[in-house]
Amino acid sequence: MDLSDLYTEVITEYGRSQKHRHPLEHPDVTERGVNPSCGDDISLELEVNGGVIEKAAILGSGCAISQASAAIMAGLIEGKPTGEANRLAALFLGMIRKDVTDENELEELQDGVALQNISNMPARVKCATLPWHTLEEALKKL
């Protein structure tokens, strides 16, 4: 796979974005997610009100791919009911596993589609999926 398909402008910009990188004041749930083998180590914080995710923050550190994936995810889930967030996580993970390939179906993931290529890079798959697995764990705790 070519580097230019991996480090696209969309990804590097989300990867460097600071938008969701500030700790929440009153998170209802905090979940740590780690890829022990490569050093990605993030914390997801959510503020949930009446079943709706009002704010999402991602702290910690990780590679451009995990950070981009996290930033895209945070943007997508803010304002969504938790059930919806769970569905999006399943959709994203399905895309990476190549279980879901239909473009129309994937449209919902918006810029998340920029990570579709990752399925061809086994060494980086875990980077892209880390925030979403962390989200699934976080939602279980609510």
């Binding site: 070519d2 580097l3 991996l6 480090y7 402008e9 590097t12 910009e13 990867g15 460097r16 022990p36 083998s37 490569c38 050093g39 990605d40 180590d41 550190s61 990780g62 590679c63 451009a64 791919i65 950070q67 060494a123 980086r124 980077c127």
Partner: protein
């Protein structure tokens, strides 16, 4: 071209663009010279049998192959006796053997185990387990910010309560060669046993375990041109004799009755199950290869490469070396970070230029935490590397930040 390169088939292979690999992950595992592969194949084609067992010629040939590999390792490490060389499957197994067999038998509640904070998990987690099981305490020798253990720390931490000290001869993160003589001497002064992880030192410098006075010394064949699946534990005979076995089974027993057993003398006591004779033959051939080059020449070659690498890396903007920035007391392992670029991305981008470096925590979480870094990139050399590999590394590194969307500097 480096004169040893032609002995290493993998390193000669061009990719579809005609590029050789710049293999700079030697601290993780090394490539194998054809001579090692041939020795293993020849063993299986002419001498393969279960050793120590048969009354037929082939089994005798296998026994001889295993025992002459043991003798080769003994001489390589300067161990007084061949019975002090135990074959394992990896340095990790060697260190677990010491922890489980020595540690669980001879450490008591309240005893202190002192580890270097820079230890690889293989010489750290086993001691956490032993400490918890035996009610002993773990304390750490901390390093300065460049990863060096200072003399005062050794005096302060290794005390009358210390019963065991475990430290690497050389660090797989920073390349620092620890003051291992001072650590061993201090350990012996207070009556403690010294366990040395030689995984990163034995492949790169002449080692004499008897001169060092190490009580145990562990290494892995695959990091010194040998096959995977073979490790070594050197242990002083008196200690090995006093320790209970580790794996129980064939070839390590004396008598077995229904309820009890007695065990063979060392080293067989620690070699339960059919031994990896093919692997031992490969390690033996690897030692032959290393000896033919000469451990002093290897050290010199790597010192020159390291000097060149440190120099070239200083020329990469925004790069920070993690570990000592000078040549003294170090091996050819260099960790670094690049501002704004996660090590995993750096490695991916270097890979596109067919340069292999490792990124991550290098199985040393507590050390990374102590140094205040989450992860680093690590380039590590061996006898087959050349300045050309370093040049490729440095040039490729200069392009990394651009790939990640930072403007041209």
């Amino acid at each position: 071209m480096n004169k040893y390169l032609h002995d290493f088939p993998l390193l000669l292979q061009p990719d579809e663009k005609g590029r050789r690999i710049a293999y700079l992950d030697n601290a993780a595992t090394t490539q194998k010279p054809q001579a090692v592969l041939d020795a293993v194949t020849a063993y299986y084609q002419t001498s393969n049998a279960n050793p120590h067992r048969g009354a037929y010629d082939l089994s005798e040939a296998a026994t001889k192959a295993l025992e002459s590999a043991r003798e080769k390792v003994r001489a390589f490490l300067g161990a007084p006796k061949a019975a002090e060389i135990v074959f394992t499957k990896s340095a990790t197994e060697s260190l677990n053997l010491v922890a489980q067999s020595y540690g669980m038998s001879f450490l008591n509640p309240g005893d202190e185990i002192v580890l270097a904070i820079s230890e690889h998990h293989s010489n750290l987690v086993p001691w956490q387990i032993v400490a918890r099981a035996r009610g002993a305490f773990l304390t750490y020798l901390y390093t300065d910010e460049s990863g060096r253990i200072l003399p005062g720390e050794i005096e302060k931490k290794i005390t009358g309560k210390t019963k065991l000290v475990a430290a690497a001869h050389a660090s797989n993160v920073t390349g620092v060669v620890n003051p291992i003589e001072a650590i061993i001497d201090r350990a012996h002064q207070v009556g403690a046993v010294a366990v040395v992880d030689g995984t990163q030192s034995a492949p790169h410098m002449a080692v004499d375990v008897a001169a060092l006075g190490a009580d145990f010394y562990a290494l892995s064949a695959h990091k010194m041109l040998g096959p995977m699946g073979v490790g070594v534990l050197y242990g002083k005979e008196k200690l090995l004799e006093a320790m209970p076995p580790f794996l129980y089974g064939g070839d390590m027993i004396e008598y077995v009755e229904e309820q009890t057993s007695t065990f063979a003398p060392v080293p067989q006591k620690f070699e339960g199950g059919t031994q990896n004779v093919g692997g031992a033959v490969g390690l033996s051939a690897a030692i032959d290869y290393l000896n033919s080059v000469g451990m002093e020449s290897i050290r010199e070659h790597e010192r020159a490469l390291t000097a060149y690498m440190l120099d070239r890396l200083r020329g990469v903007p925004q790069l920070k070396i993690v570990g000592p920035d000078e040549l003294q007391d170090r091996i050819g392992v260099v960790s670094f970070t690049l501002e704004g670029a996660h090590p995993h991305d750096v490695a991916t981008i270097l890979n596109a230029d067919r340069i292999a470096v490792r990124s991550g925590h290098h199985c040393a979480h507590p050390f990374m935490c102590h140094l205040g870094v989450q992860a680093t990139c690590r380039a590590s050399v061996y006898l087959y590397n050349s300045n050309e590999d370093i040049d490729r590394l440095a040039e490729s590194l200069k392009g990394v930040r651009r790939w990640l969307g930072y403007g041209l500097e």
